[in-house]
Symmetry: C2
């Protein structure tokens, strides 16, 4: 059990919090595996004795990458692609699962070659986010890709993916787009803007 300390300029807000003890997993049962979704049930006992059964979707251990490509220091590259979950076209950043044997940066470089026809000389893993930690075992790693050059790898997309250059200075207009809804892309946009301002 670790401790969490939060320092603050205002001394009265400094506090230590004990990390809670995780529930014990008494049993894990695969309920179904569709080939895409692997759903398991967990029989849990919390530290206070309460018991619960939870279901969760178990993704791969390596997770996925979301790539923020920059055509130049002022220009992001977004994509518009069909999103089957919502049955509509979405404006977002390129994403894809990390394949076996790949690192994050390698996966990011492969994904942008497949999806937008660019490779990058400068790739930086910035941070990692979860999507729905309550019911999805999955982490998406945000990677910044700069110093791009045209290079394409064949992908398995059903149709060409549209690329949309977007000036970083038109940040607010991007957030206002009805198609720009995905929490990971929104978070990545803000995080990258802050990162660029500090680096």
């Amino acid at each position: 059990m670790g401790t969490l300390q939060v320092e603050s300029r205002f001394k009265k807000y400094r506090y230590e919090a004990q990390m809670p003890k995780k529930p014990t997993i008494h049993k894990r049962t695969t309920l179904t595996n569709t080939g895409i979704f692997n759903i398991e049930q967990m029989d849990l006992e919390f530290s206070n004795g309460a018991t619960r059964q939870y279901q969760r979707i178990v993704g791969s251990d390596q997770g996925a990458v979301l790539v923020v490509p920059m055509l130049d220091p002022e220009t992001l590259l977004l994509i518009r692609e069909y999103a089957a979950g919502m049955h509509r076209y979405e404006l977002c950043f390129p994403k894809g699962h990390i394949e076996a044997g790949e690192g994050r940066v390698e996966a990011a470089n492969r994904e942008i070659q497949e999806e937008i026809g660019y490779a990058a000389r400068d790739l930086q893993a910035i941070t990692s986010v979860t999507v729905a930690p309550g019911y999805l075992y999955h982490t998406t790693h945000i990677v910044l890709a700069r110093d791009l050059y045209p290079q394409r790898l064949p992908g398995d997309e059903p149709e060409p993916i549209e690329t949309l250059p977007w000036k970083l200075s038109e940040f607010d207009q991007l957030l206002a787009q009805e198609e720009f809804t995905e929490a990971r892309s929104i978070a990545a946009l803000y995080i990258i803007r802050d990162w660029l301002a500090n680096n």
Copy 2:
């Protein structure tokens, strides 16, 4: 088919893009319904003739709310709760599904009474985000809750949910917390900060 127009201060970046034609769904088949996860397969034909089978998780039509509660104009209220998907404790904002017959604001007020023991006199639906539009039919509505007063409703949590007040001015420290990983909470934090600055 609608059009998307992006105005820009720099005239050369102004362009119009035709909204692409959505694929035709030829068939929808329920693969499995675990009681929590409803998974269906969609047989699609894209406008270019390409065909694909996609699987997606179908959530409810009304979706969920993520509530950003503010104890006072400078102080957010976060929670720490067990997240079964990742099997760890997460720092995030209160969330919950919208129940039948509820609106977003009503659901938000119920959720914070159940999870943190406060009701709000001032509730505003700010925006909506998706979680994984590629494979999840689900929308989360972000609601700002202010002018809080103590009032609790019984919830079904296995253990008490910790509440953590956090100064808005300590924004960067929050983003730096290892437990603060959820894309929706990160996006909500940034969005609310901007909204408060503009309202």
